[in-house]
């Protein structure tokens, strides 16, 4: 801390140059925070996945339906504690831009499988009783201003009704939430029985099954046993953990993690060139001053530390500003895009990674000029001055 004034003053020796460097660091970490938050949303399902929940889908594709008749056979498989199902509805509310997840489910078994969803008991009971009842996550309710008792018409894009209509009306019976900030709930659940009765086609099928493995049972063995049961049938199954399912679902949108990594890689490579050049210039300009410091008795390691600290300081100023502004923007994005992309969240882990990257980038950008300063020959430097 004794050297802080010296480091601070040196960092601001050329104000415009330092400001421009800080700006480039700011932009890099702003991008980092936004992309991390979006990347987090895509893998959010993986992180909150329950290790004891397995997902069963059609072996060919997630969009292929599976017979409803599998339900009892899955439930009676050794190692299965409970089972439920869900399907993809794919409608919109009022405007085609208002798309979010809508799933016909069996209310009784579905909420047994997802105890992390919190909803008042009376609302759950009302949902179970009402054939055209629906429940929504609190993010969605907040976004559209829905309250219990509201009627919600959805326009179907896939599932036309048997009467040829495309409008499905629901009565909102409950609003659920989850305590885990990573597990957002911007979706709507409604009665499978109503869906099954009213749809024009696809009767007797579901989108996928979800099961809970019994205590002490091996999830891998249970998954194998289920897939073997339906081997060589018209609808072969693929059973995987919830995490693997979420991962494969996210990959439908492309390898988001890879795209994020590539973009960030390019940004940080450029950042290192810019800030490395700034530090090299800064050290070149004050060779004689560094020689004077060494003449006064500053050890080689102290000079190395002073130059490196200056580089890290510039990174931290720009980086923390970028991260701060990014955090504010992510809150806005999470509100605006919550329905399309739940779980947009700048996690503490991502923020800690960012701070680590600032320090690492500071060291990388400053190490060559710092070593040059450390190895500086006092006599040569003073003679040149």
């Amino acid at each position: 801390m004794k050297y802080f004034r010296l480091i601070w003053k040196n960092a601001w020796r050329k104000k415009i140059r330092t400001l421009l460097t800080i700006l480039s660091v700011f932009v890099a970490f702003l991008l980092f925070s936004l992309l991390s938050a979006i990347g987090f949303a895509f893998k959010g399902g993986v992180d909150v996945a329950d290790a004891e929940r397995l997902i069963i889908i059609d072996k060919i594709s997630l969009i292929n339906p599976i017979p409803m008749s599998y339900m009892n056979r899955i439930a009676s498989t050794t190692g299965v504690a409970s089972v439920t199902h869900a399907s993809w509805f794919g409608g919109y509310y009022q405007d085609p831009r208002n798309q979010f997840g809508q799933f016909p489910v069996d209310p009784e078994s579905y909420f047994d499988l997802y105890p992390e969803f919190n909803m008042p008991e009376e609302q759950l009971e009302a949902f179970k009783r009402n054939r055209i009842g629906a429940v929504v996550g609190q993010e969605l309710a907040k976004q559209f201003g829905w309250e219990v008792g509201d009627r919600i018409p959805l326009q179907a894009t896939i599932w036309t009704k048997a009467d040829g209509g495309r409008t499905w009306e629901f009565e909102l019976e409950g609003i659920f939430s989850t305590d885990d900030p990573r597990g957002a709930t911007p979706f709507l659940l409604f009665q499978y029985d109503y869906f099954e009765e009213a749809r024009a086609f696809g009767k007797g099928t579901v989108g996928w099954y979800i099961l809970r493995v019994a205590k002490g049972a091996d999830p891998v063995q249970v998954a194998n046993a289920i897939d073997q049961q339906f081997a060589n049938s018209p609808n072969e199954t693929e059973t995987s953990t919830e995490a693997a399912f979420s991962q494969s679902f996210a990959k439908q949108f492309g390898n988001i993690a890879l795209i994020v990594s590539l973009v960030l890689g390019a940004v940080f490579f450029t950042l290192l060139l810019v800030s490395g050049n700034t530090m090299s210039q800064s050290v070149r300009e004050r060779i004689s001053e560094l020689a004077v410091l060494k003449t006064l008795g500053f050890a080689d390691r102290s000079v190395l530390g002073i130059v490196l600290s200056e580089s890290i300081l510039i990174m931290l100023i720009g980086g923390l500003l970028g991260l701060g502004v990014g955090w504010v923007l992510v809150q806005g994005v999470a509100q605006q895009m919550g329905a399309f992309l739940p779980g947009v969240f700048l996690s503490p882990g991502a923020m800690a990674t960012a701070v680590g990257m600032m320090i690492a980038a500071g060291i990388l950008a400053g190490i060559f000029p710092a070593v040059k300063a450390m190895r500086l020959s006092i006599i040569d430097a003073l003679a040149r001055a």
Partner: protein, 229 residues
């Protein structure tokens, strides 16, 4: 007889310039008593600055020994030399070499950053040093806001702030007009006579040398003594 502050015994310094070896100092012997004020004169390339660098622990001899204040500098590692310089020797340069980003006070404080003094104590000592050189009222000024003579006074304050016994001055008046140079030289005389500092000053200026107790002439790597008039 008292032990001299500095002693050079059979000191040679040879530099390698390409394939050629250049002997800047040749088997040089010198004793500098405590409290002395020596001027070293001589043509360019005669080895004056090299001698100063050896006395200040900035360079090591190719042969011979350099002892200052009982410490044999020629045998010390670079890190020990750094520590030794911070408390035992003060440097004054021709072009002042102040840090432009720091005020006069903060420039003077620099050597004290290497001590265990707290901030308050460092500022107090730096203020005293500035007062000694007559610049207490310029403490908050940056080097660019000072005249050449004032800058050199700040540099002198920086050199004495950690109370070293030896001051090494390399052409301290080389960049100043006559009147200002005389002011700086009188200040060095005060530091020598009133504060007991031992001063070794390299100069081309024979008038500057007259302020010293004695003048040594350096030529082709050897020294020749001439008593001041």
């Amino acid at each position: 007889m008292t032990e001299p502050l500095a002693r050079l015994e059979s000191v040679s310094r040879i530099y390698q310039k390409g394939k050629e070896k250049v002997e800047v100092l040749h088997q040089l012997d010198l004793e500098i008593p405590q409290g002395d004020f020596i001027a070293i004169m001589g043509p360019s390339g005669s080895g004056k600055t090299t001698l100063l660098n050896l006395l200040g622990g900035l360079d090591k001899p190719t042969a011979g020994t350099v002892t200052v204040g009982g410490a044999e500098l020629s045998a010390m590692s670079n890190s020990r030399l750094s520590r030794w310089r911070s408390t035992n020797v003060g440097f004054i340069f021709q072009f002042y070499n102040l840090l432009p980003v720091l005020t006069a006070l903060r420039n003077v404080e620099l050597p004290l950053l290497l001590t265990n003094f707290n901030s308050k104590e460092r500022i107090k000592r730096a203020s005293i040093a500035l007062d000694i050189v007559g610049l207490a009222d310029r403490a908050k000024h940056y080097p660019r806001e000072l005249s050449g003579g004032q800058e050199q006074r700040v540099a002198i304050a920086r050199a004495i702030v950690s109370d070293p016994s030896l001051l090494l001055c390399d052409e301290p008046t080389g960049d100043l007009d006559r009147d200002t140079a005389d002011e700086i030289l009188r200040l060095l005389q005060v530091l020598n006579k009133d504060h007991g500092k031992t001063i070794v000053m390299v100069t081309h200026d024979s008038q500057a040398a007259e302020y010293a107790n004695r003048t040594l002439h350096c030529d082709k790597g050897t020294l020749e003594a001439r008593q001041a008039a």
